[in-house]
């Protein structure tokens, strides 16, 4: 049982993601589906630990949204959660949802990685509210994340529309005290499916009526926003600047300017223009504070308001107190408050690393040594192959993009005398998420990409979630395990071009890689070792370096294993006059998993069991 289920008369200390989960459960949610992605992962992970809810890791965000829609159609409150880029994947169905709406409450919790700590970009998901015609709730903190998620289900049912709860990293991943209300059990009176072809079948003959209904709904929601308790004008004595603010920036404004009048937006789309007008007429100037794009600002301008916003505030990253103070000083041409920020010490970077014994270290040991080869990467732990010491990646675009990009590069170079070899590197979960259609395209077009399908039986980067490739469902119960060799054969790869390779066996792995790169046909090399954090992984006796046998060649360091450290460096001049850099190494026993990769990389046999 989850710790959140302790009898809760008192408030709880929850992250925004946990608060969304608890809010959904307390609203009687009956189904939750998601694909993991930072900073949204813990939402459905937490819901899954509550009783009486069906929860799943779906294969991608579009599937998860459709699963939630299906539940809503049958009268069950449902939630899907995803990170901002996940909503791009789900967007095709999302657009239709704007038209057909929802039956039982349907909540889409999307967490934007404002500050891009673990994402390929920074996006403002509030745009989807405008694009799809959905109401958008923007909690400022975990407490509001709880209460707004609860309320979102009722709002969804009141207007028969999915509701977007837009979080940011600072809401999702900050713990605060959250007030908990009595749980509302799932209401069986909502249950039941009724055929409604004119609504759920989106053939062109049904569209006009749905668009007209959508326009009516937009108008009703605009009135709702004006009277919603989530939107309020907080009066203040200091009328020099009035703030219009949404999301976690509310607390920033409150801290920096406690006496300023503020319009706090919670139901931020549709925009409550009447409330904004009441503020605007009572202050000298209005500053719109929002993360990250000027959405509210532009809508206010279009409605005839003279407001400030991104003319003084940055268009990327979090708005913090110093950032806001700087913007206000530009606006008032006054003295900047506070002192200049202290400067950090010049120090080595500490990028995330592959784990000791990670099977990817064996793969990248070779990929880092390839010449005249373009390596199209994808999204997962293996993205780290772009970094030191391997530098073995040329592109990372989006989930599943490696294969399509690689195929385009191959086809574009077809007429060249010496085309570069092209590899695609993709993990098991990402392949199942959006990689498969691109492989079907490669075989169909007669392309020539060598695909490395790094099957570590885990959605590792987000915390080791289960997926259809490891034979376990979200709750750990057994599921049919996808056989990747048979899957890629079915997608058109010749049986002899499908190679199972053990990335711990360095020489044979290299042989397989070079064989497949030479052949002018699509091939898929499937690696066979699990993530070191997966239950399948077997830790072995750690290794050590026999100092007297080590000649300082430092080849073991090419693996990039974090358990290998340098004890001594030396420059030597060879008889040829060449100067070589030597490094003697040691192995940290506590970190070593005994994978034996470094022992195989060592030509001197200096690495042995400890």
């Amino acid at each position: 049982m989850h710790a959140l289920l302790q009898p809760a008369a008192a408030p709880e200390f929850l992250s925004g993601n946990e608060a969304v989960a608890r809010g959904a459960w307390d609203a009687g949610v009956e189904l939750a589906a998601a694909y993991p992605g930072t900073p949204s992962t813990e939402i459905v992970q937490t819901i899954a630990e509550f009783p009486g809810v069906y929860a799943e890791w779906s294969t991608n965000e579009k599937v998860a949204l459709e699963v939630a829609l299906g539940a809503s159609m049958t009268g069950r409150r449902a939630l899907t959660a995803m990170k901002h880029v996940g909503l791009n994947v789900a967007s095709d169905s999302l657009m239709t949802l704007g038209q057909v709406g929802a039956k039982a409450g349907l909540v889409i919790a999307v967490s934007d990685d404002v500050g891009f700590s673990s994402s390929q970009n920074e996006q403002d998901s509030r745009f989807w509210g405008r694009f799809v015609h959905l109401p958008v709730l923007e909690p400022a903190d975990a407490g509001e994340a709880y209460a707004m998620t609860r309320d979102a289900f009722a709002l969804s049912e009141r207007y028969a529309v999915p509701v977007l709860v837009r979080l940011t990293t600072r809401v999702s991943h900050v713990k605060r005290m959250v007030g908990i209300e009595t749980r509302e059990a799932p209401d069986g009176r909502r249950h039941g499916y009724e055929k409604d072809a004119a609504r759920w079948i989106t053939t062109p003959n049904h569209v006009a009526k749905r668009l007209a209904l959508r326009a009516e709904r937009d108008a009703a929601l605009a009135l709702e926003a004006e009277s919603s308790a989530w939107n309020r004008l907080e009066p203040g004595q200091d009328a020099r600047i009035g703030f219009i603010v949404s999301g976690p920036a509310y607390h920033v404004v409150r801290e920096a300017y406690p006496d300023a009048p503020i319009v706090k937006l919670g139901l931020s789309h549709p925009l409550p223009l009447g409330l904004a007008k009441r503020l605007a007429t009572s202050v000298e100037r209005v500053l719109v504070v929002e993360e990250v794009d000027p959405i509210v600002e532009n809508e206010l301008r279009a409605a005839g308001f003279a407001v400030h916003g991104k003319d003084v505030l940055p268009r990327q990253g979090e708005i913090t107190v110093p950032v806001l103070e700087h913007a206000v000083s530009r606006l008032t041409r006054g003295e900047s408050r506070g002192k200049a920020a202290a400067r950090p010490a010049a120090l080595f970077p500490r990028p995330p690393t592959l784990c000791a014994g990670c099977p990817y270290t064996g793969v990248y040991f070779w990929l880092g040594q390839l010449k005249d080869t373009i390596i199209c990467g994808d999204i997962g732990c293996y993205t780290l192959g772009c970094g030191s010491p391997w530098n073995a990646m040329d592109t990372v675009i989006s989930m599943g993009a490696s294969l399509g990009v690689a195929h385009g590069m191959v086809q574009a170079q077809a007429g060249e005398a010496k085309p570069k070899s092209v590899l695609a590197v993709i993990g098991d979960s990402t392949f199942l998420h959006t990689g498969m259609p691109a492989l079907a395209n490669i075989t169909y077009q007669g392309g020539n990409v060598t695909v490395l399908l790094l099957d570590n039986r885990s959605t590792a980067m987000t915390g080791g979630q289960n997926n259809p490739g490891n034979g376990r469902r979200m709750d750990g119960t057994p599921a049919p395990r996808i056989d990747f060799a048979r899957l890629v054969e079915a997608l058109g790869v010749k049986r002899e071009r499908i190679r199972m390779a053990d990335p711990y066996e360095l020489p044979t792995f290299r042989k397989v890689l070079h064989e497949e790169m030479k052949i002018a046909e699509p091939s898929v090399i499937i690696t066979s070792r699990p993530c070191v954090l997966a239950p399948e992984f077997e830790r072995r006796r750690p290794l050590k370096v026999v100092v007297d046998d080590c000649n300082g060649c430092s080849r073991c360091l090419d693996l990039g294993c974090p358990a290998i450290t340098v004890t001594r460096r030396e420059q030597q001049t060879r008889p040829s006059g060449n100067v070589v850099e030597l490094a003697w190494t040691a192995i940290e026993q506590a970190a070593c998993t005994g994978c034996d990769l470094c022992a195989k990389a060592c030509a001197r046999g200096a690495i042995v069991p400890a």
Partner: protein, 193 residues
């Protein structure tokens, strides 16, 4: 006046758990507290930092450079990395353990010879502790975080006993673990007494 605290280290060290313990202790003492979490890419051997704010009522949750009261660093160079966050009257508690990353092993960067000395030269009040050695003496290197929490306890805006209770509460009915962590906490507390 709020007490801002940074807890820093590297992925996998238990930084988040230690930060959670501090925040929950503050709440148990009747104060308001917020705590930031890090997940995703930084988890794997990368830089990890949790920001805690403690006070009567917390609005913004980010901790600002130059205004932090306490820095709790579970690794030597990580203490230096975040030391510019400290206020002029702030204090750093740094584990002297050195975790050398592959970018240093591969020769691309250098690890500073004496991170704590560099901090002192920059005017930081540094308390350097060999928490891992203390923990190893007590029987398990994993007790290092409890040693560090014990060391910082007297500098917090609430009673040491509240933090000690919160540290031990995590072990529930496991009396052996609770006892060893109590010894570790007390050892840390005595180091800075």
């Amino acid at each position: 006046m709020n007490t801002d605290i940074l807890v820093v280290g590297i992925g996998g060290q238990g930084v988040m758990t230690a930060a959670e313990t501090l925040a929950r202790a503050a709440l148990a003492a009747g104060l308001d507290a917020t705590k930031t979490e890090v997940t995703g890419m930084s988890q794997r051997g990368g830089v990890v930092c949790s920001q805690i704010r403690i006070g009567a009522h917390i609005e913004a949750t980010e901790v600002r450079p130059g205004q932090t009261k306490l820095l709790l660093a579970f690794e030597s160079a990580e203490g230096l990395r975040w030391s510019h966050y400290l206020a002029h009257d702030g204090k750093a508690f740094v584990d002297s353990w050195r975790a050398v990353p592959p970018v240093v092993s591969s020769g691309h960067f250098e690890y500073p010879a004496q991170p704590a000395t560099e901090m002192r030269d920059a005017g930081v009040d540094v308390i350097e502790l060999d928490a891992r050695s203390v923990a190893t003496t007590l029987g398990d290197v994993r007790l290092a975080n409890s040693v560090m929490l014990g060391a910082v306890a007297a500098s917090l805006p609430f009673a040491t006993e509240v933090l000690r209770t919160e540290v031990l509460r995590r072990f529930g009915k496991d009396a052996a673990l609770a006892a060893s962590n109590a010894r570790a906490f007390d050892a840390g507390r005595d180091l800075t007494a």
